[in-house]
Symmetry: C2
Subunit: 361 residues, 2 copies
DNA sequence: AGCCCTTGTGTGATCGATCACCTGAGCTTA
DNA sequence: TAAGCTCAGGTGATCGATCACACAAGGGCT
């Protein structure tokens, strides 16, 4: 980095130039411009894909960019444009683990669009959370917010509608909880319920996920709609919170003795709780009750009985959520094709579901 | 953008000022300076906690800052200082779920120090990953990197030592895999092994986590050291990858029939695999073999047998990792008190461990 | 008193990209 | 042929905070 070590024949012709770059610093548009023989403004146009440029000029700039290994300084860009090119991901509280691949997918989609993903955790009570959120919401600081749970203090609350930046919840709702692609995520539940109905099941119970989560609400809505559509009976909808405990409690307090023969658990962890709770009472799965979960958690493959579940393409779900948000940012219509169920989700039949038991009459 | 719509009574008193602020824009140090009756530079000093300021001046500036709700523009600061105030968190590949609270803790610690946390996923093959990493490593873009797995292409590889930014792996290693606080995280394993030895166990097996992870290597090292220290026998160390499958495979291929009576599984998920695998062969836990895991996964509380494990303060672990990195960034010595085992981790005895079986001989 | 040093604050330049506006070449049209 | 238009690209200001340096006030020392 000590001075100007010409690193290619291209430089030689320009030896009259007064120091190609400041020592050790990454190249700027000015150096690119000098090398390409254009003005810095033309380089800026190039970076913005300005269509009015002559192809010839474009090529020269592109070569200079490549040769110098130029990368735009995002801070400078942010300062001038007053857009941060950042998306904040709000971590869910009260959830022990989150899918890594969903974050990966979101990060990848963001990077491809020139955005970066900030992790933010909202801690403390409602007031602290609101204050923290507000500090994020300076458009200087964040262009948009991606969350997987509702941001309000109460479950199901819509986010305040006067937020200065767009917010997407779980890729499914916008900041006012208007659905963007109705029930796209949960539609596989309908197929599963139909399958169980074909196996003779008539009386169902659903143990929900945490109601703050859009996906939990979706699954419940699809459950209720499908039960109605197929003329089945919903013995109960038990409000859970994604926890194994909520599954266990549902099993021991509600499901056992209810007459239900099939249980839709909002997640595999809930399903584990349901099955273990039923087993603790001597109720066998699937002989007496069929249970299925959601997530294709690896433990389910080795569990006894092996768990019937729905696998989810987390990576793609994350990407899609970011795409929805980016579309909102650009002010585009949100008619992005909703996440196709067949693309994302897949039913995995294992041993925790089976034919409905014969009525012992 | 059409002029200056005065937006509140507070502005009225200052009508003599030549445009308190440009309409709709957040306040800058200049406005703060004007309100406080000092120069913008003094405000800057205030923001940097310059000790040479007179208390009186400090107070005036503080009041102005509070009154205007001033917040520094991070992009401008970044541009001038050439430090991004960002920490990149590299998501582990090949791990399904990661602890949310660890991220929360890391994000909180970063925010408190004026940093933000970027999520980055390195995708693709080794070359692509390296290229992506390199693009992150412009100091303009990222001040430091926090990872939980090694960044090299091969397991256990140290990261290239010429990285231009500090890297901390799991809060335990720096970029050259020099240990920062030896075995701090895993030390609880020693107590657990001692406990099992007290119960009569002599022959142990360890199923490791993925060797890319510092925590997996630490746990293994502590296992081996403790076995030696207590004069016990390690029948085998089975290389796993945190997966339930690796636990199942270890159980069915190595543990069964090995004569070992106690198994240290690197995580609860591995432990589930071990137990389910043993059970599938008719081996009972803990009657024939004791098994303990690590993480205090909620499912373990309801599992049969209820899983003995070690609970981890994820939140604090995340904070600590960031603090280590920040210390590196400031060039401080890393003699931050290593994460005290007693603070972070706690042994939780449940039903999957018990006295060693009597030799049937 | 006069000098120097310390302490506290102000002035102007700077970081790199973009924006608003300007210039000049080439072409069309009256 | 001159006015008018379009197309390509250049000039200088700008975003907000920090840095280097200058300067003023006050205190201690000879």
């Amino acid at each position: 980095m000590d001075g100007d070590d010409a690193e290619g024949a291209a430089d030689m012709a320009k030896e009259s130039l007064p120091r190609p770059r400041t020592a050790g610093r990454p190249p700027t548009i000015h150096e690119v411009a000098r090398l390409a023989g254009v003005s810095h403004q033309t380089v800026s146009r190039f970076l913005r894909d300005d269509p009015t440029m002559r192809p010839d000029t474009t090529r020269r700039v592109a070569r200079a960019v490549a040769e110098l290994g130029y990368r735009p300084n995002l801070a400078a860009r942010t300062m001038r444009t007053r857009r941060s090119n950042r998306i904040a991901v709000i971590l869910p509280r009260s959830t022990e683990r989150m899918p890594t691949r969903m974050l990966s997918g979101a990060a990848a989609a963001a990077h491809e669009a020139g955005y970066r993903l900030d992790v933010v955790s909202l801690e403390g009570d409602a007031a602290e959370r609101a204050a923290h959120l507000e500090s994020l919401l300076q458009p200087e600081s964040t262009d948009g917010i991606l969350s997987f749970t509702s941001l309000g203090t109460n479950a199901g609350d819509p986010a305040p509608s006067d937020f200065p930046v767009p917010i997407v919840i779980d890729g499914v709702y916008d900041d006012q909880m208007r659905s963007l692609g109705v029930f796209a995520d949960a539609s596989m539940a309908a197929d599963m319920l139909r399958h169980l109905a074909d196996l003779g099941h008539r009386r169902f119970i659903h143990v929900t996920g945490h109601p703050d989560w859009a996906s939990a609400r979706d699954r419940r809505a699809v459950y209720e709609a499908t039960i109605a559509e197929l003329g089945l009976e919903s013995v109960a909808v038990v409000e859970g919170d994604w926890s194994t405990k909520s599954g266990w409690d549902a099993a021991t307090r509600v499901i056992a003795g209810s007459g239900a023969t099939a249980v839709f658990a909002a997640s595999d962890h809930v399903a584990f709780g349901v099955i273990l709770g039923l087993q603790s009472l001597g109720i066998q799965v699937p002989r007496d009750v069929s249970v299925f979960g959601w997530d294709d958690d690896e433990v389910g493959r080795y569990f006894r009985p092996r768990l019937t579940t729905i696998s989810v393409d987390r990576e793609r779900q994350g990407r899609q959520a970011v795409r929805q948000l980016l579309a909102l940012l650009r002010g585009e219509s949100l008619q992005v094709r909703p996440v196709g169920a067949a693309d994302l989700n897949r039913i995995i039949l294992r041993d925790s579901t089976g034919p409905a038991p014969r009525p012992t009459a």
